[in-house]
Amino acid sequence: MSELTLLIFKVAFLIALWVFVFFVVAAVRRDLFGERVTKLGTAATKQARDIAAVFVGGSRDSASSPTPQSPAVTAASGPLGRALELVIVSGTRVGDRLALTTEPVSIGRSSDSTVVIRDDFTSSHHARLEYRSGSWVVSDLGSTNGTFLSGKRISAPTVIQLDQPLTIGATTFAIRAV
C-alpha cells in the first residue's frame, strides 16, 4: 500500500464524513420545508372553508351563518362559519393552539384529555368544550378549583364568546378565529 494511496484514502474518508453530515442537514431542511408545505395546505383549506361558508350562507340562509354581519355579539361559531382555534393566552404553555372542529375538547390532568394540563390546580377531568348548534359551550366537570369564564366561576354549561378568557387552574384559554 503506497503512501499516495493512503493519502487519497485519508482525504476521501474525510470528504465522505462531511458529505454524510451535509446529507443529514439537507434532510432536516427538507423536513422543515415539508412542514411549511403542510401549513400552506391548512391555509388553503381555511380559504376553501371560507368560500364554502359564503356559499352555504347565501343559498340556505342557515342558522350557523358566518359571523361578519354581527361580530360584536355572536358566540364563537362553528366549523362552517369560521375556522376557530383554542389558544392558551397565559400559563406555562402560553401560545399553544388547538384547531377546533365539531369534536368536543376535554381539558384536565388525565392523559386521555384532549388538552392535558399537569399542575396542582387542575382536576383530572376538569372541563369540557362542546359544539352545540352553532356555538361553543363550556361545562365544568365537577372540578375542585372551578372553571372561570371572564373571571366568574361557572356553575352550569355556558356559551363561550370569541376572545373571552377561560381560566382553568393556572392556565387561561381563549377561542379565536384563525
Binding site: 482525504v11 462531511w18 434532510a27 403542510t38 383549506t45 376553501a48 356559499f55 406555562t92 390532568r109 392523559s111
Partner: protein, 465 residues
Amino acid sequence: MAELSLAQAELHTGEIPKLRAPRTSQRLRNIELGLLCSAFTLTTLAIMFVQFGVVGRVDIHPLGLWTLVFGLTLVVHVILRMVAPQADPLFIPLAFTLNGLGIAEIYRIDLYAQSLGWDALATKQLAWTALALGCVAAVLLIVRDHRALQRYTYTFGLVAVVLLLLPAVPLIGQEISGARVWIHLGPLSFQPGEIAKIALAVFFAGYLVSHRESLSVVGRKFLGIRMPRGRDLGPIIAVWILSMLVIVIQKDLGTGLLFFGLFLVMLYVATARVSWVVLGVSLILLGGALANQFLGYVHDRFANWYDAFNPAIYNAEGGSYQVVQGIFGLAHGGLLGTGLGRGMPYITPVSQSDYIISSLGEELGLAGIFAILCIYVLFIARGLRIGFSGHDDFGGLLAVGLSFVVALQCFIVIGGITRLLPLTGLTTPFLAAGGSSLVANWIIVALLLRISDANRRGSGRVIAQ
C-alpha cells in the same frame, strides 16, 4: 343550483389534509432508510480504511459482522414503520454512524494489540450493539405511549437509587481503576449507573411536571430568590442527596456531575427560573472546591488538569501521563489527521474507551473531530426540538432531559480530554467501548423516537407552537 353543487363538490375534493398523513410518515421513514444506507457505507469505508492502514489488505470477517449489525438496524427500521411511523428520521442514522466510527477505531487498536476473536474489544462492542438494538426494539414495542411512564414516576426514582447502590453490594459489585461502579454477573460486567440516568430523567420529568407550579409560585423569598416549600422539594432533594452519596462512596466524579447537571437543567426547564441555575452552579463550584480540599482522588484530578505538563505530575503514579498523551495524540493528528490506521493512538492508556475521542482526533484530525461533533450537535438539537414541539409536558421535559444527558456527557468527556475541565471517568456516548453505556444511549434513542412519533401524530390537533 347545479353549478353551485358542482362548485361545492370541488371544494370537498379540495380538502385533503387527511390523505397527507400516511404519505408524511412514509416520507420520514424513507429519509431514515436513505440516511441509514449512507451511514452504513461510511462506517464500512472506515473499517476498510483501518484495515488498509494497519495490515494493507481487506479482512472480510469484521465487515461481515458489521453488515449483520446493519441488518439488525434495518429490523428496527421496519419495526418503526409499524409502531412509530412518524418518529424523527435522524436519530437512528446518527447513532448508527457514531457507533460504527467507534467500532472502527476500537478495531484499529485491537489490530495493533493483536487481540482477535472474543478477546477483542471490537467484537464485544459489536455484540453489545446487537444487544442494544434488541433493547431499542423491545422499548419501542413495550412502551407504546411514553405518557404511561409517568404513572411509574416514583418507581423509576426507586429503580434509579437501587441501580446506583448495586455496585456497593459485596458479591456482584466490582472495583475497576479506583471507581466502584461496576457489577459482575457471570461473564458480563455492567455499569448500572448508565441505566440509572434514564430512570432518573423519567423520575425528574414526572415529578417536575406535576409539581412545577408549586415549585415556582409558592414559597418564601430569601435573598431575592424564591425558595420552594420543603414538602415540594423534599422527594427530589432526597433522591439527589442519595445519588450524590452513592457517588462519593463509589468515587465517580463524572457521574455525579452528570446527575447534578441533569437535575438542574430539568428544574430550570420546568420552572423557567434563572435563580435555580445560579444556585446550582454555585453549588457545583462549592462542591468542587470542597472535594478538591478533602477528597484525595479529586485533588489529584485537579492537579493533573491545571498543571498537566509539570514533569513531576506527568511522571507521578496516577499522574497526568494519560491527559498529556491524549493531547499529544490530538496534536499529532493536526488538521487532517494521520489517516485511519496510521497514527499511534494506542500509546494513550484506555484509548478505546475513555480516550476514543483523542484516538479519532489523531487519525481523522480536526476536520474529522468537527464532523463527529456536528453529528452530536444534530442529534442533541433534534432531541431538544422534540422537547419544544410536543403538546404534552411530560414528554417534552423527558426529551429535553434525555438529550441534555447526552450533551452534558459529551461536554464532560471531550472537555476532559481537551483539558478544558478536569478529567472524569465518563464514556463518550455511542463511540466508546463499553456495553452499558451503549445500551443506555440506544434506549435514549428509542425513547426519543417514541416521543417524536407521539408529537407528530398529535400534530393533527395542535396546529403550531
